[in-house]
Structure formats: C-alpha cells, structure tokens
C-alpha cells in the first residue's frame, strides 16, 4: 500500500481552562490517500473543525495537542516549531475557511494577495507570479481573470470570493487541502458549483482533501470516504456509499434518518432524543450512551474502540463479538 498523504493517530486536543481541562478531541485516527476526499461530518461541537485546525497547526493556546501523531507524507508535523509549520502551511497544506469574506484581506487587491502567497512559497518572479495568479483564477472559474485580478474582495460575490480563496489554497500546489465548511455560507446553486470545483481539483492534481462539513448531502456528493464524529471521537468511518446507505453506529443511523430528503415520503423524521453533551460533562463510557436506544451496561463503563466491519470501522460495543464487560 502506498503511503497516505495524511495520517492521524490517536489525536487528542485539550483546552485548559481555569475550571477544568476540556478534551475536544479524544483519540481520533484516520488516513487520507493521494487524490482522496475524506469527509468529516458531525453536529456543532463534535470536534470537526478542531481536527482540521490541529492538522494545519492552528490550535492556539489555551488549546494544545496533548497526545497522538500527525504525519504528512511520512514526516511528523505535530510537534514542529512555529517557524517550520509556517513553511508547511500554505505550501504543503492549503486551507479553505467557511467565510470567504473574512479569509481575504479587504484592503488588498485579490491579485496582490495571490501573488504574495505564490512568492512566499515559490521562487517565481513578480511577473511570472502574476501570470500564474491569472492562470489560477481562470482554473477556479473566474471569468475575465486578467481584469478581475485587480479587483478588491468586496467587488466579488460570495461564490466568486470562495473561488478566490480556493485559488489561494492551491497556488503552491499543496499535497493536502483542508476545507472547513467551504459551502455553508453559500446558496445551493452556488454551492453545487463550488463542490464540483473542489472535486475536479482533487482529481486533476491528485490533491488529498479533508472536507469538514455538517451537511451530509455535500458529503454524499463529494467524498470517497466519510468519518462521522461525535463528541470528539470518530463514531464511524468508511466508504461514503456504505456509511450513507448502511450506517452501523446508532448515532450515524439516527443522523441519516434525521435528514429530510427530496425523494422522502411524508413520514416522520427519525428523532434522536436529547442533544450532544457539553465538553465539560461527557458521560463515561461511550459518549453517545445517554441518547442511544441500544444502550447496555458496558456502554456506560467502557469506551468503545473502532471495530472493523467490512470496509467500515465503527466505535460501538454492539459490534464487539465479546459483548460483556471485561471486568
């Protein structure tokens, strides 16, 4: 097997507050291969964004990576000094944020921002970098790029701005792109265009993509594999068709049933009682146990580890051949 572009092992992220240490990520492991799009879904507070930020080294104090390893094409990057991670960020890992207006500097022409990024990461001359910037804008589908390159961010619509941000993310030809809710701020018709663009870029350049979103529909359209997160852990991970059509984890099942679909009949939506626990009050054992319909004694004591089920892996005691408590 070839080496994955990104490999995350037993990642833990903690936020130290005066009252307690909150563990936002608790033992997350996954790989992303070259050209693969991995979707990370979950509800607010599940730890999706923090996982993405940990990979790119943007966890600020009081947050810190307290355990685990992150490898980019075989080299560990989680314990690098800020100066070195800064050189990787933008060059080897590109980032697309949710809100395109806040990720562009409103005072600079978009061309200047792209040229600056290109020149930081490559040794192209000013003229060559500008030419490359125009090519990039054309590639992400901005009409008349040679004119638009001198525009300011406010002169672009939301969808066009997100295209500019994507151009920025790919300008140094990174191995990995982390896209954190790239379409959430956009209308559906524009969202479809941006999804198609991200898919095409992954395919054409062999870039690995980690797509963080709460929208299952976007995942189903875009991703090869998907990780369902709950309360700082991966509840289920597997090929997108399997996880969407045949989810195993009770939470994943509930989540799929809760989503209204266009083809859906007029029946009631599946309802998961309650809501996600706060970080300060994660129940012992499986974090989903208070809301789970299949809960049994072991779930309240023992934390489930991912168990392989065909192509999927699911962190649930129901799938453990030995169901009883070890003690």
């Amino acid at each position: 097997m070839t080496q994955p572009v990104l490999s995350v092992r037993n990642l833990e992220v903690e936020f130290v507050t005066r009252r307690a240490t909150l563990r936002a990520i608790n033992g997350v492991s996954f790989d992303i291969a070259r050209g693969e799009v991995l979707g990370v879904v979950g509800e607010s507070g599940a730890g999706k964004s923090v996982t993405g930020l940990a990979v790119i080294g943007l966890i600020d104090p009081p947050g810190r990576i307290s355990a685990g390893e992150i490898e980019l094409s075989g080299t560990r990057i989680d314990h690098l000094p800020p100066e070195q991670i800064r050189r990787i960020r933008g060059k080897r890992i590109g980032m697309i944020f949710q809100d395109p207006l806040t990720s562009l500097n409103p005072l600079y022409r978009i061309g200047d921002q792209i040229v600056e990024t290109i020149r930081t990461h490559t040794n192209l001359t000013e003229t060559a970098a500008r030419k490359r910037a125009i090519d990039l804008l054309a590639e992400v589908g901005i009409p008349a790029p040679e004119k638009r390159i001198d525009g300011y961010p406010h002169e672009f619509s939301g969808g066009m701005r997100q295209r500019v941000v994507i151009a920025l993310a790919i300008c140094a030809e990174p191995e990995l792109i982390i896209a954190d809710e790239p379409t959430t701020a956009l209308d559906v018709s524009v969202q479809a265009q941006i999804i198609a663009l991200i898919k095409r870029l992954g395919r054409d350049h062999g870039t690995a993509v980690m797509l963080v979103t709460h929208d299952m529909g976007v995942i189903a359209e875009t991703c090869d594999r998907v990780a369902v997160m709950y309360s700082g852990r991966i509840a289920e991970i597997g090929p997108v068709q399997e996880v969407v059509r045949n989810p195993l984890h009770p939470y994943a099942k509930g989540l799929m049933g809760a989503i209204p679909t266009l083809a859906g009949e007029d029946k009631r939506l599946v309802q998961i009682p309650g809501s996600m626990p706060r970080l300060s009050a994660i129940p012992p054992g499986c974090p989903f146990n208070p809301r789970c319909a299949f809960v049994f004694d072991r779930c309240r004591v023992d934390r489930p580890e991912p168990i392989r089920q065909g192509t999927q892996a699911v962190a649930c005691h129901l799938f453990d051949p030995v169901k009883e408590t070890a003690a």
């Binding site: 189903a220 209204p260 083809a263």
Partner: protein, 331 residues
C-alpha cells in the same frame, strides 16, 4: 368560514437604497430603489402549510414580514380571514386578529429576551391580550405550554442562556402558541440548528399542526425541509414567485427552468446519480435586475421575449418558454 385563511394580492415592497441627499448633491448619483418583492400573489388555506423557497435575496423574509404586518407593503394587500392588514377602516378588526397570528424567527438566540425568565417570555402574549386573568392560572397555562413543546414546566424558572438552540426554538414555539394562534409564520425556523435537532423541531411542528389545526407560512432555503413540511410551495426568484405548485408535483415535475436548476443543485443523499442541469451564474444584483424575466441571463431556454417582457404567473408558472412553447424558438 371560507377555506382560504390568508390571501396575498400583488404584494410589492420597494426599499430606498440611495445615498443620503447630501452625498447625492456633492458626489452625484441618483435615487436607487431595490424591489425586494415585486408583485407576489398567493393564498393559504386553513390548516395547510404553504412554503416559500428561494436563495438569499429572493425576498422570502420580506414577504413574511409583510404578511404578519411588521413591514408595510409599498402596494398590494394582505387579507387574513377577511380582514385587510392595510385598510385603515378595518383597524378595529385587525387588532382582534393580531392574537391569532404569531411568528417564529430564525435565530433563537436573538428572538428571546435574555433578561426575561422563560415563564415571563411565554406568558407575555397571554398578558398582552388579557387571555387569562390571575397569576396562578397563567402559571398553570405556561407549564402546560412548556410540556406541550417537550420542555419541563420547571424550566420556566430558567433564563434563555441556560438552553441549547433547539430548546430555545421550543420556547419560541411555546410563545407562539400562548396566544392560541391559528396562523404561524415560520421564517427559517431550523436553519440555525443541527440536523438531529432540526428533525426534533420539524416533527414537533407537524404534531402541533395536527393537534391544533395550525396554518403555517414556512420560509426556508432548504428544499428538502420544505419538501418534508409543505403541502404547497412557491419558488421565489428576485422578488417574484416563479412557480407555485403542490409539494409532490413540484418535486416530481418542476416546470420553470429555475426550479429545475434549484432542484438539480441540491446535494443528493440518495446518490442516485441523477441527471442534472448544470448551474450557471449567480443571482443578479436586485438593484439593477436584467430586463424582462429576471432569470433570463442564466436560463437555458431564454429567447427574445424573455429579455423584453417579464412573464406573468399563468397556471402556476411564470415562464414564457413553458407558457408559450410555440414562441420559444431559441434565437
């Protein structure tokens, strides 16, 4: 009692978005108007859910605000149960009507007063309309309402910040029911919520509708949610209704090219690999919309007439190409 509860006739709302007078005098420039809603007509029958869908800036929320009377229309009329919301001669009747109309807003963090306890929030409509006299009876009624929306009567003693987004939306629903409202305008009631919580709220809204025979005007940009909730749907584009149809019909057989495009753009959870019309372009600037049908620059069927004359809503579709197929020869 007629079957139609809400009748909206040719509703228009224009916002003045010009620069201030002094700036116009010094810097030049002229008056600019934004037609947020441009001739919208629909009706809602008793006990049904009518939904308006559309992208940002299509005028959905402006229609909702005009229907409940939060915003006066520039022209046109809203008639609720035979009472005009604009006619000054019917002010008396309108005051009696107010109790029966309520609204649920998008952001449950902004729509509840953070300094009020939940019981005071829910009791406010009861006190405002003098529906129940006597503190003990009001308290009992508030407890009953909170249980109805799936909260505990003791939750009334807490403040809004102690609740999650979904629970806050339940409080907003309890408040809407407090005045024994019959017609509830829901403006994106679940957009700020996570999917599992969204399912809880949508199920609750349907249960309450069955129980009390409520009529909903449901505003959303999420087509799947609308499909789940609405019996009839109006699709809005740049201030106009471009297609209006029974829920099932609209999704099985969309007629207007914009509706087709919108349905095609929704990410598909079923992964059926269906054929879709590629989406092109974006909503034009509403201050300076294209002449004729406002969808014409993005429409695959556009022909000369589309660029000259705005189509009327005929048999539920506002489209020259659909209503007059003979003339529709792509130029």
């Amino acid at each position: 009692m007629s079957a139609t509860l809400i009748d909206v006739k040719n509703l228009r709302r224009v916002f003045d978005v010009s620069k201030p007078w002094l700036n116009r005098m010094l810097e030049g420039g002229h008056l600019e108007y934004l037609k947020a809603v441009d001739g919208v007509t629909f009706d809602i029958k008793r006990g049904e859910t009518f939904a308006l869908v559309g992208e940002s800036g299509s005028g959905k929320t402006t229609v909702a605000r005009m229907v409940v009377g939060l915003l006066p229309p520039t022209s046109g009329e809203v008639v609720i149960d035979g009472v005009s919301m604009t006619d000054p001669r019917q002010a008396q009747a309108r005051r009696r009507l107010r109790r029966r109309i309520q609204m649920i807003f998008q952001d449950p963090y902004a729509s509840l007063n953070p300094r009020f306890r939940v019981d005071a929030i829910v009791a406010e409509p009861i006190r405002a309309f003098d529906l129940i006299l006597g503190e003990r009876d009001i308290k009992a009624r508030v407890g009953e309402l909170l249980s109805l929306v799936g909260l505990h009567p003791d939750d009334g003693l807490k403040f809004p910040h102690e609740f999650s987004g979904g629970q806050r939306q339940r409080i907003a629903i309890a408040r809407a029911l407090a005045s024994e409202a019959e017609f509830i305008v829901c403006d994106e009631p679940t957009s700020a919520l996570d999917v599992s919580v969204q399912a809880q709220i949508l199920n609750l809204m349907r249960d309450l509708q069955d129980k009390f025979g409520l009529t909903y005007l449901f505003i959303s940009h999420n087509l799947a949610v609308v499909r789940h909730m609405a019996s009839r749907i109006g699709v809005m584009y740049l201030g106009r209704i471009v297609e209006i149809a029974e829920g099932r019909k609209l999704f099985e057989n969309p007629r207007m090219p914009y509706t087709k495009m919108l349905l095609g753009a929704v990410p598909d959870l079923a992964m059926s690999g269906r054929q879709r019309i590629p989406v092109k372009g974006e909503i034009p600037n509403p201050i300076n919309p294209p002449p004729g049908c406002s969808f014409n620059p993005r429409c695959p069927l556009a022909f000369d007439l589309c660029r000259q004359k705005a189509p009327d809503l005929i048999e539920g579709v506002a489209c020259h190409a659909v209503n007059d197929p003979a003339a529709a020869v792509p130029a």
